[in-house]
């Protein structure tokens, strides 16, 4: 496998004012192939979301190398887009204008970005809601907008930071199925952070288990389930074995600081 996303020995230390420095990431290494769906699971505060922000280019690491498709990551770039846990929609913009945000910042003319955003609004199933404001949407719909916004700039890599954590269980199930459909349609490389074992198994080709802070990649588990995947697959023996395997890796990391 040729590495499409490559992170080597990434170190990140936070120095909060008047506090001891915190090592968020220590010699963090991962390697993701093109078109792969990889999840990162780990205990709360292990730095998995932080790593996404580093890879997104929002937080510069203290040391280490990161590259996407051979291109060094040194700041935000058009080859990546993030779907945020708390959606991050601009509340004063309509669905359409939110989806257009990335294209607008890319300098695409209004007449050209209209059909593109329309296409992705339809892809995420929000046709007819273009003129709605975020406060008029349910949580699931907001995250559909977040997903459409990320896809609209046509990034090679989709970073997803616990995108469904703020949704209720049923909406989350629906969104997971939608994500798989869209991923197959849009052919993106996805790096997906979650704290949910079942979600990781259901969606991923591979799952990276992180240690507790300072976060390192502890173990990589292959998910050889066939695709396309459906909801029934979740009750198979194979699926549950994988969940158990993942749980066994994770549980050692969930001690000491308690509530995980």
């Amino acid at each position: 496998m040729v590495a499409y996303i490559e992170a080597k020995n990434v170190n990140l230390i936070f120095t909060p004012p008047n506090r001891m420095p915190v090592t968020a990431l220590k010699d963090f290494n991962i390697s993701v192939g093109e078109g792969e769906f990889v999840s990162i699971v780990g205990p709360s505060g292990c730095g998995k979301s932080t790593f996404l922000n580093v890879l997104l280019g929002l937080i510069p690491p203290h040391s280490g190398e990161m590259a996407i498709n051979g291109k060094r990551v040194s700041g935000p770039g058009q080859d990546r887009a993030m779907v945020f846990q708390e959606f991050g929609l601009l509340p004063w913009r309509t669905v359409l204008n939110n989806v257009e945000l990335g294209l607008e910042l890319k300098g695409v003319a209004t007449s050209e970005r209209r059909p593109v955003s329309q296409k992705f609004i339809e892809m995420v199933g929000l046709a007819g809601f273009e003129g709605h404001y975020p406060h008029e949407l349910s949580g699931g719909m907001k995250q559909r907008v977040g997903l459409a916004r990320a896809l609209a700039t046509d990034p090679d890599v989709l970073l997803m930071d616990e995108p469904f954590a703020a949704l209720d269980a049923q909406t989350r199930d629906i969104m997971q199925a939608e994500l798989l459909r869209i991923w197959q349609e849009a052919k993106k490389t996805v790096l997906f952070v979650t704290h949910q074992i079942e979600e990781a198994v259901y969606l991923s080709d591979r799952v990276i288990v992180m240690t507790k802070r300072p976060g390192r990649a502890k173990k990589i588990i292959d998910i050889p389930l066939p695709r396309p995947r459906d909801y029934e697959m979740r009750v198979t023996q194979e699926f549950n074995d994988l969940k158990l395997q993942l749980w066994n890796e994770l549980k050692d990391e969930l001690t000491v600081h308690g509530n995980g």
Partner: protein, 292 residues
């Protein structure tokens, strides 16, 4: 802004637009009185007070001395009408209006960018905050003598008084709003490659708008106060305030009241203008938090 109540279940979102609460069955139609009660009472009371004022001289015999200081609403209205019809008020009106507009305009032009800079930069904030606090805590009237020395009696002194009155509430509110900006939204636009300027335009300013509007409302009040103070206390030899002051000296009570009506009208028009602006800018807000 942090809408965590959004766990509302909508598993098939594409099927229906968000449905408004239909109420409990039957829609009760409000009568004309129910719908307009507040306005009717408010306007009715003003009319009542004016009428009462009007009839006082007819039911009470005012002493000779009292009569000199008394006027009635109709007399004020007549005076106002005559002053506008004959055009004698225009120079004073124009003077005050220009000083007000220029002073307020300058304060907006200065306060918004400066507020964004102070709100975004810790260094600038630390440097300028004590200065602004001290300035803002000092009554504006204290500065009048030195302003008169520096700018002379006339338009510029009045403009400066209006400016220093209006600029601080706007500045303080703008930077409070900017500091309140949502980190997540800033990160979102940064992740799409936004420049510092684009961050300000796309996130910081819209996000601070409720604060800025509240600041603007305060600033308008301070600007009107500035006009009155500057003109009453010798900042200029023209303007509505000067006209009122002169008229009071000559016991022309109706002219004093005419000036008062003009300032009242100015305040009402400006507050109304801010309300319209606010409504335009808050179309995206949920109904229950529409008021800034």
């Amino acid at each position: 802004m942090n809408d965590t109540t959004s766990t509302a279940v909508s598993p098939v979102p594409a099927s229906a637009a968000p449905v408004r609460d239909e109420g409990l069955g039957e829609i009760t139609r409000r009568t004309f009185w129910e719908a307009n009660e507040r306005h009717a009472l408010g306007i009715g009371f003003i009319v009542f007070v004016l009428l009462l004022w009007e009839v006082i001289p007819h039911i009470l015999t005012l002493s000779r001395g009292m009569d000199l200081f008394f006027t009635t609403p109709t007399q004020v209205a007549m005076t106002l009408y005559n002053m506008f019809a004959s055009g004698e008020i225009w120079p004073a009106f124009k003077f005050s209006a220009v000083a007000f507009s220029v002073g307020l305009g300058l304060s907006i032009v200065a306060a918004l960018p400066l507020g964004v800079i102070i709100g975004r930069s810790h260094t600038m904030n630390a440097m300028l905050d004590p200065f602004i606090t001290a300035f803002n805590a000092t009554p504006r009237l204290v500065f009048l003598p030195i302003i008169l020395v520096w700018f002379g009696i006339g338009m510029w002194s009045v403009v400066v008084v209006v400016f220093i009155g209006a600029v601080f509430p706007l500045l303080i509110n703008t930077y409070a709003g900017v500091r309140n900006a949502d980190r997540l939204l800033i990160n979102v636009v940064r992740s799409f490659g936004a420049s510092e300027w684009q961050i300000n335009k796309l996130v910081i300013l819209p996000n601070s708008m409720p604060f800025i509007i509240a600041g603007l409302r305060l600033a308008i009040g301070r600007a009107i106060l500035g006009i009155v103070v500057a003109e009453f206390f010798g900042g200029s030899s023209e303007g509505i305030g000067v006209m009122m002051n002169d008229a009071a000296g000559k016991f022309q009570v109706d002219i004093v009241f005419a000036g008062l009506v003009i300032f009242m009208a100015l305040s009402l028009v400006m507050v109304g203008g801010v309300k319209v602006l606010e409504a335009r800018l808050s179309r995206w807000r949920p109904e229950n938090v529409k008021s800034f």
